[in-house]
Amino acid sequence: MTQSSGKPIVKLTGVTKTFAQGGLEVKALRGMDLTVNEGEFVAIWGPSGSGKTTALNLIGALDTPTSGQVELEGTDLSSLSRKALSQMRRDRIGFVFQAYNLIPVLTAFENAEAVIALQGIAPAERKTRVMAILKEVGLEGMEHRRPNELSGGQQQRVAIARAIASNPAVILADEPTANVDSETAEKLLSMMARLNEEKGITFVFSTHDPRVMKYARRLVGVVDGRVDTDRAKNSGEE
């Protein structure tokens, strides 16, 4: 097991997840153990159906395990109520989805502001923080545009801005580069790597995109619902 020296943010212990699909039981996870520490830039990779997205959903408190334990910052997620899980997602987890998933009726600024508005942060502080983040992700001057007025890459930048605005413990990114071209993917990954390095934001990716693995500093290979390989990349290694 390869881990950085930061404190544990995410910890999966013996996690299984079984779905009923068309009358059949599908075992998506078969006893996964994984710890992600603060400040890591981790890519969970593997073939389709290997369980990487399921793992991300469990870490993100979007789903509950069939057995085993999922902890976020030391809190067992299975012990939380629906309301507490909502608060956990709002305050401690940031999501970046493959399909951007912005709220179409909100502008770039409002989308980025959405989560911290839920946290009840004062409007003036929200504005300062969101404008700074939009600048950081290269969307200065585009804050009033709605998602349909932005390119795919720009929408994903808004999604990243939304994810980091609330200062979460971890950002979970599910195939964040799948819907953008190579150049945009490079820019996005470079930006996220920079945010990780400069701000210490913990990123966990679910991916089979080699570009993501190039940027990742730890690669967790998942096969048949279990961690198969887990290795830290050396500095300069691609």
């Binding site: 959903n57 979007l62 309301k83 608060q87 997602r89 709002r90 179409p104 009726v105 839920l118």
Partner: protein
């Protein structure tokens, strides 16, 4: 998220499907329009019927001998009516009160005899708000004082009797002692009420002429007719006056005097309520469809919102706010659509005299009514309709809102 943010988001969500929202608003507005118009027609005819029944009968509230209702003979009278009217007029709900004596009589002319209903009145006490026949004169004159000589007949009755202005008409009644008395007056006027049964049976006399013929005191009559500012307050007014006037007289409401009118109004009100319920269900179904479709279409979006930290309660609230905004806008649209036609129909109305002339139906239970269709809604009913629209719209949003709050983020996000 602050309430204001949720409201802003709900507002924008409503306009994502502009056409659907507009259609929903149109259906709410049209439903409100129908409900208001139907209720206004009903309320106005209800009020008109009460007032007409009061004018033709014996007021919104009637003071009479305790046995007069069951046995309306001229031996059962109200004495010292002036003192009783003074008590009655002191009541805050009372517009005015008048003496009336009415009963049955046999009328004869040189050519024929017919039974009739007579009403003896004091023209000085009455006006167009208390007496139905003052604008129905088609020939001759009305009485000017309580002691004027002469007799006024309904149009058909005059024709049946073969009587013309100036002709002698003999009337026969039973006096207060049960004795048959006969007197004679000359025909001074002919009235047309618009109600065929009334025109064939109505006979008007001045009240002192009848008092003299029947041997009544100058302050004696069969009824004291009380007219209220608002006829709907008759029950409460009757209860108050009953206490004040004591057991020597009966105090009855207009619908106790004329129960057939009450039955007709109850039937109309019942039918109107049933129609309004149907309209309400149709409107609510339309709104439910709109909101439910909009929630189902946004299933994935709700999953995303749940994932980024919206709570189930916030998603529920969001959809409920959308319903509330629809209700509010629907209400405004309803007022905009209804105001013009309502104003026209309440002031000018629609002349239906030709329709009624063909059918001949211009009376209910012996009460003639205006052949011009007017509307006028009671304020409390307008409030009920407005509240019903808001409540129906909000109720229609509850299930979709619940669905939004119960969304499974993992399943929703995977929805294409």
């Amino acid at each position: 998220m602050t309430g204001f943010k949720l409201i802003a988001l709900a507002w924008r969500n409503l306009w994502r499907q502009r056409r659907r929202t507009v259609l929903t608003l149109v259906s709410i507005a049209f439903g409100g329009f129908l409900a208001v118009m139907m209720t206004a027609m009903q309320d106005r005819s209800f009020a008109d019927f009460i007032d007409t029944a009061a004018r033709l009968g014996a007021g919104h509230v009637t003071v009479q001998h305790p046995e007069y209702q069951d046995s309306p003979t001229l031996t059962r009278t109200v004495e010292k009516s002036d003192a009783k009217r003074a008590t009655v007029d002191a009541d805050k709900a009372v517009h005015t009160s008048v003496d009336r004596t009415s009963g049955q009589t046999m009328l004869s002319t040189a050519s024929d005899s017919f039974g009739a209903i007579f009403i003896a009145y004091d023209p000085a006490m009455e006006d167009e708000n208390t007496f139905e026949f003052t604008d129905g004169l088609i020939e001759g004159t009305l009485f000017a004082t309580a002691s004027d000589d002469g007799i006024i007949l309904g149009k058909t009755l005059a024709e049946n009797l073969g009587a013309e202005i100036g002709d002698k008409v003999v009337f026969t009644m039973t006096d207060r002692h049960g004795e048959i008395i006969t007197d004679m007056e000359r025909l001074v006027g002919i009235v047309s009420t618009g109600a065929p049964s009334l025109d064939a049976a109505l006979c008007l006399l001045s009240i002192n002429t009848v008092r003299k013929s029947l041997g009544y005191d100058p302050t004696e009559s069969t009824q004291v007719a009380i007219f209220l500012e608002d006829g709907r307050g008759s029950l409460a007014a009757a209860e108050r006056l009953r206490t004040q006037l004591g057991p020597e007289v009966a105090v009855l409401t207009w619908d106790q005097i004329q129960p057939e009118i009450r039955g007709f109004i109850a039937m109309k009100v019942g039918g109107g309520i049933a129609m309004e319920i149907i309209i309400g269900i149709l409107v609510a179904a339309g709104i439910f469809n709109t909101i439910f479709m909009s929630v189902m279409e946004r299933n994935r979006e709700f999953g995303i919102m749940m994932a980024i930290g919206y709570s189930p309660a916030q998603l529920f609230s969001l959809v409920m706010i959308e319903s509330g905004l629809l209700a509010f806008m629907g209400l405004i649209a309803g007022v905009a659509v209804t105001a013009g036609p309502y104003y026209y129909l309440s002031t000018t109305g629609i002349d239906l005299s030709e329709v009624y002339a063909q059918s001949g139906a211009v009376e209910i239970g012996g009460v003639g009514f205006d052949t011009t269709l007017h509307i006028g809604i009671f304020p409390e009913n307008a409030m009920i309709i407005a509240a019903a629209i808001v409540v129906a719209t909000i109720l229609a949003g509850i299930y979709p809102a619940w669905k939004a709050g119960r969304v499974n983020p993992v399943e929703s996000i995977n929805t294409l």
